[in-house]
């Protein structure tokens, strides 16, 4: 191989890179909160709502889960103005990510709610709680604790998927890569640096969120999920590689 790698000219783009990180994380944070709320509402409706509302939620979930995120994004950003709804690119990105995460979160939270034993609801009713209170204070916290690892993975998928929003010129991390390589023509190096950044972000985010989950749902989560993997352990996966069917005692 005769290609000489050159990472020398990248220091001047540090500011751009950190702004890209901030935008990517910001988009993820906003759409996680909003998408989580959509998910809880959707799951609540699909369990106890009226028939027509349940059908509506089911249609929404299937439509989103069976189309690519980039098409959803283009539909919102390029298609909605045709209906007279004009939104800027950042709003479009947040909307698309929220709608996308909301559909998956609906399914995940619904599975969590269905995993709660009926006795919990009956016990709460026996204590004189109203249906709304039962859902809010008894069912939901346990349901979310049960499916927290799945929710976490979905948030990470949305974060990685958000690389696409650079296509509608949202200045995220991928946009920074495109910009830098168009300036210094070091395409491979640019994308390599950004890819490693994404990898680091997803490792750190997974750590932070699973620690947060362990704190929020102390004693409620399945044990394996409650222990966040360490940074080095994730990279070199010592523990992951050790759980094996072939290793017989």
């Amino acid at each position: 191989m005769t290609y000489a790698f050159d990472f020398s000219g990248f220091a001047m783009y540090a500011g751009m890179l950190s702004r890209g990180i901030a935008v990517t994380l910001g988009l993820t944070a906003v759409s996680t909160v909003a998408g989580g709320l959509v998910g809880v509402a959707g799951a609540g409706i699909s369990i106890g709502g009226p028939r027509w509302a349940r059908a509506l939620v089911a249609a929404y979930v299937e439509l989103i889960r069976n189309t690519p995120f980039i098409v959803q994004l283009f539909f919102i950003f390029f298609g909605l103005p045709g209906l007279g709804i004009h939104i800027d690119e950042v709003t479009a990105a947040i909307l698309a990510m929220t709608v996308n995460l909301g559909a998956y979160a609906t399914e995940i939270v619904r599975a969590g709610i269905e995993s709660i034993p009926r006795g919990q609801v009956q016990a709460a009713m026996a204590l004189g709680l109203q249906q709304r209170q039962v859902f809010r204070h008894v069912v939901l916290p346990q349901a979310i604790a049960n499916v927290f690892p799945a929710l976490l993975s979905q948030v990470l998928i949305v974060m990685l998927g958000s690389a696409v929003v650079s296509q509608i010129s949202v200045p995220d991390l991928t946009y920074a890569a495109n910009f830098i390589q168009s300036r210094n023509f070091r395409s491979f190096e640019s994308y390599l640096i950004i890819t490693v950044t994404y990898l680091a972000l997803s490792i750190v985010l997974r750590q932070v969120l699973s620690r947060l989950g362990a704190k929020l749902f102390a004693g409620r989560m399945p044990r394996a999920a409650a222990q966040p993997r360490g940074l080095l352990r994730t990279l070199f996966a010592w523990r992951g590689a050790r759980t094996l069917p072939t290793e017989r005692s």
Partner: protein, 218 residues
């Protein structure tokens, strides 16, 4: 100026959907083959080999597919390989698919009781024979439903290849939009076409899952 009717648009999109289907099939078949090799390495008795596969899976699951596509598109030429969007897309999607399938199948193999391996070993089978004749046939039954479910993700992920210039369904939608400027019906149709490809798979995966669950409770 050429006039495009809605039917013209639909016909062009339908024709472009062929490439999405073809790319998905290639990614799935090649990714499945590589995935099987990775699976054998992932559950092998050699710790370093397992670790390599774990690292491989973490790398592909921890970075955006878009970045992987860019790296292949700009990186393969550095190795002296002439790269068209076709090559970059198939190579990347194959590797991406193999990482996910290896991980899914690993879970299925681990769900087979360890006694099965031991029983194979006691019959004098080698590791490869145990996997091939004892464990994999049992794991395959559990693996069918999640594998079909993952196919949906493969089809959806092909949409990203439009960004590196591969002309499939999404790219064709963008090109027609640029020509006739009616994004709402065009992207709506693109979405419906993806839905028409993915929903049967989703539905089938659900049927398989229900069947598998019935078997478990007996």
């Amino acid at each position: 100026m050429v006039e495009f009717t809605l039917w013209d648009i639909a016909r062009n999109l339908l024709l472009a959907a062929r490439w999405t289907v073809l790319l998905s099939l290639i990614a799935f078949v090649c990714g499945g083959a590589v995935g099987l090799v990775l699976l054998a390495a992932r559950v092998s008795p050699l710790p370093w080999l397992r670790r390599v596969v774990v690292l491989y899976v973490e790398l592909f699951q921890g970075t955006p597919l878009l970045m992987q596509l860019f790296l292949a598109f700009f990186g393969l030429p550095l190795l002296g390989v002439d790269v068209s969007p076709w090559v970059a897309a198939t190579v990347t999607l194959t590797l991406y698919t193999s990482a996910y399938l290896a991980d899914i199948w690993r879970g299925c193999v681990e769900a087979v009781p360890r006694g099965q391996w031991a029983a194979g070993a006691s019959l004098g089978m080698t590791y490869a024979q145990q996997l091939r004749y004892i464990v994999w046939p049992q794991a395959r039954k559990i693996a069918t439903a999640p594998t079909v479910g993952f196919l949906v993700q493969v089809v959806k992920s092909t949409a990203l290849t439009s960004i590196i210039g591969f002309v499939e369904l999404t790219k064709t939608g963008t090109m027609i939009t640029n020509a006739v400027f009616r994004p709402f019906p065009i992207y709506g149709m693109v979405a419906l076409l993806y839905f028409a490809m993915c929903f049967p798979l989703t539905w089938y995966a659900r049927v398989l899952e229900r069947k598998a669950r019935v078997g478990q409770h007996q």
